[in-house]
């Protein structure tokens, strides 16, 4: 399996001297092509920083980032911008759309600012999957939050990017809309072979992913594949326990419920899982309707 993006020895320190905050410390991380990766962690864990660095939106204090075979660190602004435009898709938590452009124009924006022709067939396919066909002439202000995020998804995929990055893409959405967006990201991986990396603090959202990476205090503390929502909730409770000692009524201790019963490691390799990714996600879809 090829690597879509790679981070090596990634360190990010904000501020300087006494006021400095280490957001990431010597993190090695690979994003596998054709996989849906979620980065989980509480506020301040460094998950957003990791994604921003991977997406070439920010520059690391130390370490290196590759998008495919391209080393991002030394790129000047314009090649970097072109790389973002042509090889990366973005979905932000809010404010994804240019308010003066209608839905259609927003979707094709990365193509039109590159001065290229829109691939109509591809466009129609995305629109069809996202169910946006009757919303194309609407301005963002005339769309619901869920519709806006679906337009953002369509835009992110329009250039057939190497990776789509989502920064809490469902953070502002109601559960129904969130499910639609997550379902679409899932389908884009399953049907179009898209690589997706999503930052979230929501175990439900993360459960759509093939692989979930947990961050805490600037380190990757866990890396699991094929976990369902219950697994993830347990994992969250284990990795980020309440400091007042109360683990909640009737909740088993974090160690006891770890998925394969082993002593809690801080990180794991790719789990030996005979279930194929496609089968598993298909099962999940069936389960949720």
């Amino acid at each position: 399996m090829s690597i879509a993006a790679r981070a090596k020895g990634l360190t990010k320190i904000y501020g300087s001297d006494s006021a400095s905050v280490t957001a990431l410390e010597d993190v090695d991380f690979d994003v596998t092509s054709g996989e849906f990766t979620a980065i989980m962690g509480p506020s301040g864990s460094g998950k957003s920083t990791l994604m921003h660095l991977l997406a070439a939106l920010d520059t690391p204090t130390a370490g290196e980032v590759w998008i495919g075979d391209t080393a991002v660190n030394n790129l000047a602004d314009t090649p970097l911008t072109v790389l973002r435009r042509d090889r990366i898709g973005f979905i932000f938590q809010a404010f994804n759309l240019v308010p003066t452009l209608n839905a259609r124009e927003n979707i094709v924006l990365p193509v039109t600012i590159a001065g290229r022709k829109v691939d109509v067939e591809w466009f129609d396919k995305i629109i069809d999957v996202l169910g946006l066909a009757d919303r194309l002439t609407h301005k963002p202000a005339e769309l619901s939050g869920g519709q806006q995020q679906r337009v953002a998804c369509a835009r992110a995929l329009m250039n057939r990017p190497d990776i789509v990055f989502g920064d809490e893409p469902t953070g502002n959405l109601d559960s129904r809309s969130a499910a639609e967006v997550l379902g679409f990201l899932r389908r884009s991986v399953d049907e179009f072979g898209q690589t997706v990396v999503m930052v979230t603090h929501d175990a439900h959202a993360a459960s759509y992913a093939d692989r979930v990476v947990f961050l805490s205090d600037g380190h990757i503390v866990d890396d699991i594949r094929g976990a369902d929502q219950t697994d993830l909730l347990r994992e969250v409770a284990r990795i980020y326990p309440r400091t007042d000692g109360d683990t909640g009524p009737g909740r088993p201790s974090a160690e006891a419920v770890y998925r394969d019963g082993s002593a809690a490691p801080t990180s794991r390799g790719v789990p030996a899982d005979d279930e194929s990714d496609v089968e598993r996600s298909g099962a999940r879809h069936a389960a949720r309707g």
Partner: protein, 852 residues
């Protein structure tokens, strides 16, 4: 609540300072013009004060040389004995006879005039009697007073401009003797040293008498210094008693206030002129502040909603915004006051550099300027901020919970409809002025044009919409998606774009109107001058002062010259009437061949023994005169009775008087040793005679030889200079509007931080981002410019058609020039975008997206 206001003000200081800038400029203009006119007045005060004796004796019809343009030769003079008699009067300490002329011009080392065009060269005899109230009169600054007849004292500014130092030989153009050479023995001036642009030349009494009045040992005026403790009015009365008929003795104070009144009329005009421009600047400032506060309030919608949610009532919100405006107004007015003070210094410095010495006066802050500056600054800001303040007060608490970091789409409201109504009324008024026989069409025009302009300001968002979308189509074609984004940005807040464009529109309306007026005026006048010009050459003075008539004879002697016609001009009075009557002296042949005079009836032919005269039809109507009537013309020199033998209707290139008489008649009542212009006819080969004529003219540096084309160009150029000054002032209005575009654009870009971040994230390069912001500015600037030029063309064409009977009968629309204005405005847009674009490009993509 006040604390919160101040805190939020401090947090937004940069943006507010940007908007205060417009107030600063407007107020600076008001303050600067007030201070400068005040400065000019005090300069003239000193000039007048130091140049008058306690009591001054002059001929009744006279006045002060240099202010009324009276030719002293035409007035009766006093003998030295009469002056000595005045000195004997009780209370008179000193009585100095004065010989003076305004036509003594110092020359530079290449024999060119050192004086400013139109400014008098005042040549007079040196004396050092004290001026009114014991002030210093004439004083030596450096060197010594003239003692021999070949010695000269110049005022320091003129000496410096000519590069003369004491001991140098200075050549001087005299009214009667051509160029004479003197040794500079000192520099000196009157009182405080202000000359207001004039040159002072001091000679010995005999030399002054020689060059001014052909050596006659007489004086045209007497400067009296009273003894200590004597009362000026009593002395004046005592002096009056010994004076011959036709002379008056006036106290210096009396005379000064008379002169002061005349100066005030002139300065009042300058004041009005500057204040009109200040008004334009402030109108633009109002629009800018309205814009700035609208944007700031919109950006703070969440903050305001939060304040509402925690219990602020609407009036508190409104007050909070208005207090912000008040503080901005205060800061702007203070800075504007200081800038205006600086402006007055700057004007003074510029005048000094070009050599106009206003003396040791400095701009002093007046309470009027302070009150006006603060009043205008604060009132304008409050008015402009009221609308945004009320809008802020309507913010609902729930908006605190909704992401509303951006100005929402604007509602158009009723203002554009009101604007369109005003445009219609204004246009109707202008159309009535032009096409309907309404009384006072200029008043109709004067009412209609501002209505049209104000209407256009209000309706810009509607009227401009098609232009913006046209620009969008063109830019989309040229620059692809980026061009379209720029147009959508310009169109998203139509009112804001309109208010920004309107500032430029006002400036360009005025510039275009002036351009059309200038082109039409120069074309009309040029055409008429060319059509009316007779002869091959015209010899005329450069400073409007009459020149030595001997030049006519010298020109006649030049090889190739067929004939030379001399034209004299002066003024006389009708018996029992006070107002002066302009008279021209010319031969009948000179009138016929040398001018294109439109004779309605009769001619200047002698009829028996009577002295013929041609009068203007206007003069005939005013005084109810007709052919065959007798008319008495009076002057201090004498009286002449003329028979009206003709009536003319003007139509000449040379200015002709209300009454035209023959040179013989003219000699009875005025001085024929000085002519006002000469028209030269050659034998058919002007170029052959040109050399000889130039040789003759070279002896008279205050006189210029010009062929027909040169003469027309020179006259037209004078208008060009006037228009250049107006352009310079309007440029300031346009600079303010460009700053307005910078301000609005900077605020809009700040407001769109997240959007810019998003665009960068999805692949807009820095170059594309810069292009997008630049194109948006170009759209706004071009919109303002195009609307401004359109209104300017309408107003200019209407004005020219109204001024048809004032001699501006040819409408010229300088299309290329107007196109250049629009292109320049677009370039201004490009320049205005530099700052905001740099800011947008530099901002961190990530932080922009993350910004809440």
């Amino acid at each position: 609540m006040l604390g919160a206001t101040l805190k939020s003000l401090w947090a937004r200081k940069v943006r507010l300072l940007l908007s205060a800038l417009s107030i600063v400029l407007g107020v600076a203009f008001v303050c600067g013009s007030l201070l400068f006119t005040n400065l000019l007045r005090s300069s003239f005060d000193q000039l007048v004060g130091g140049a008058l004796g306690d009591v001054n004796v002059s001929a009744e019809a006279g006045g002060v040389v240099g202010f009324e343009g009276v030719n002293p030769d035409e007035l009766p003079h006093l003998t030295p004995e009469q002056v000595a008699g005045i000195a004997e009067v009780d209370g008179v300490e000193r009585a100095e006879g004065i010989v003076s002329s305004t036509q003594v011009f110092p020359l530079d080392k290449d024999d060119n005039l050192l004086s400013f065009p139109g400014a008098p060269g005042i040549g007079m005899n040196w004396h050092d009697a004290l001026a009114v109230g014991g002030q210093v009169g004439a004083r030596i600054v450096e060197g010594r007073a003239p003692e021999a007849d070949d010695e000269l004292v110049l005022d320091p500014a003129t000496a410096e401009r000519g590069g003369y130092t004491i001991g140098d030989q200075v050549r001087v153009s005299t009214p009667r003797d051509g160029i004479r050479s003197y040794r500079l023995v000192g520099t000196g001036t009157y009182g405080a040293g202000s000359t207001a642009g004039a040159s002072y030349l001091f000679f010995t009494v005999t030399e002054a008498q020689a060059i001014v009045q052909g050596g006659a040992d007489t004086f045209y005026a007497v400067w009296i210094q009273k003894t200590d403790g004597a009362d000026a009015e009593t002395v004046a009365a005592a002096v009056q008693a010994v004076l011959p008929e036709g002379f008056v003795a006036e106290t210096g104070t009396e005379l000064a206030s008379t002169i002061q009144e005349q100066i005030d009329v002139g300065l009042g005009f300058i004041n009005t002129f500057l204040l009109v421009f200040a008004g334009i600047a402030l109108l633009i400032a109002t629009l800018m502040i309205l814009n700035t506060f609208s944007i700031l309030v919109a950006q703070r919608a969440r903050e305001i909603a939060l304040l509402r949610a925690i219990g602020s009532v609407r009036s508190q919100i409104r007050a909070s915004v208005l207090i912000e405006a008040l503080i901005v107004g205060l800061i702007g007015a203070t800075a504007g006051l200081l800038a205006g003070y600086g402006l007055a210094w700057a004007i003074l410095a510029v005048l000094r550099v070009v050599g106009i010495d206003l003396g040791p006066v400095v701009p002093t802050m007046t309470w009027q300027a302070v009150v006006a500056s603060y009043g205008i600054g604060i009132v304008v800001t409050l008015i402009a901020a009221y609308l945004p303040a009320s809008r802020a007060a309507r913010t609902r608490p729930v908006e605190a919970m909704v992401a509303a970091a951006q100005s929402g789409p604007e509602k158009q409201g009723v203002l554009p409809m009101v604007g369109i109504g005003l445009i219609e009324v204004g246009a109707a008024a202008m159309a009535s002025a032009v096409w309907l026989p309404v009384p006072n069409p200029l008043v109709w025009f004067g009412v209609g044009t501002p209505l049209l302009l104000v209407g256009a300001v209000l309706a810009t968002s509607v009227v401009g919409a098609p232009l913006v979308s046209l620009a969008g189509r063109i830019f989309h074609r040229l620059f692809g998606e980026v061009g379209r984004l720029a147009q959508l940005n310009a169109a998203r807040q139509p009112r804001r774009t309109a208010a920004t464009a309107a500032t430029l529109m006002i400036g360009l309306t005025l510039v275009s109107t002036v351009a059309i007026l200038a082109a039409s005026t120069t074309a009309s006048i040029g055409d008429r001058l060319a059509a009316d010009q007779r002869g091959d050459f015209v010899i005329s003075p450069v400073a409007y002062q009459p020149f030595d008539a001997k030049l006519a004879d010298q020109a006649r002697d030049v090889d190739g010259v067929e004939d030379v016609y001399a034209f004299y001009s002066s003024s006389v009075r009708l018996p029992g009437k006070d107002e002066p009557v302009d008279i021209t002296g010319a031969t009948a042949e000179g009138l016929e061949r040398g001018t294109s005079l439109d004779l309605i009836a009769g001619s200047l032919a002698a009829d028996g023994d009577a002295r013929p005269a041609v009068i203007s039809s206007e003069f005939a109507a005013t005084h109810n005169l007709g052919l065959g009537q007798l008319l008495d013309l009076e002057s201090p020199k004498g009286t002449a009775q003329v028979l009206i033998t003709g009536i003319h209707d003007g139509g000449t290139a040379l200015p002709v008087g209300q009454v035209i008489v023959t040179p013989e008649t003219y000699a009875l009542i005025a001085d024929t040793s000085m002519v006002s212009s000469l028209v030269v006819f050659t034998d058919g080969d002007p170029e052959a005679a040109r050399f000889g004529l130039q040789d003759a003219v070279r002896q008279y540096p205050s006189v210029a030889l010009a062929d027909v084309d040169e003469y027309v160009d020179a006259r037209v150029d004078q208008f060009g200079q006037i228009f250049a000054v107006i352009y310079a002032l309007l440029a300031l209005a346009i600079i303010i509007s460009v700053l307005g575009i910078v301000n609005t654009l900077a605020l809009s870009v700040m407001e769109r931080t997240r959007e810019v971040g998003l665009l960068r994230a999805v692949g807009l390069t820095r170059g594309q981002l810069r292009l997008m912001i630049t194109l948006e500015a170009v759209i706004v600037a071009t919109l303002g410019a195009v609307l401004g030029v359109v209104i300017g063309v309408v107003a200019g064409a209407a004005l020219v058609s109204l001024l048809g009977d004032q001699g501006i009968d040819k409408l010229v629309i300088p299309g290329w020039q107007l196109l250049v204005f629009v292109v320049l405005a677009a370039i201004c847009g490009v320049l205005a975008a530099i700052g905001p674009a740099r800011r947008a490009v530099r901002q961190d993509t990530l932080r922009a997206i993350a910004a809440e």
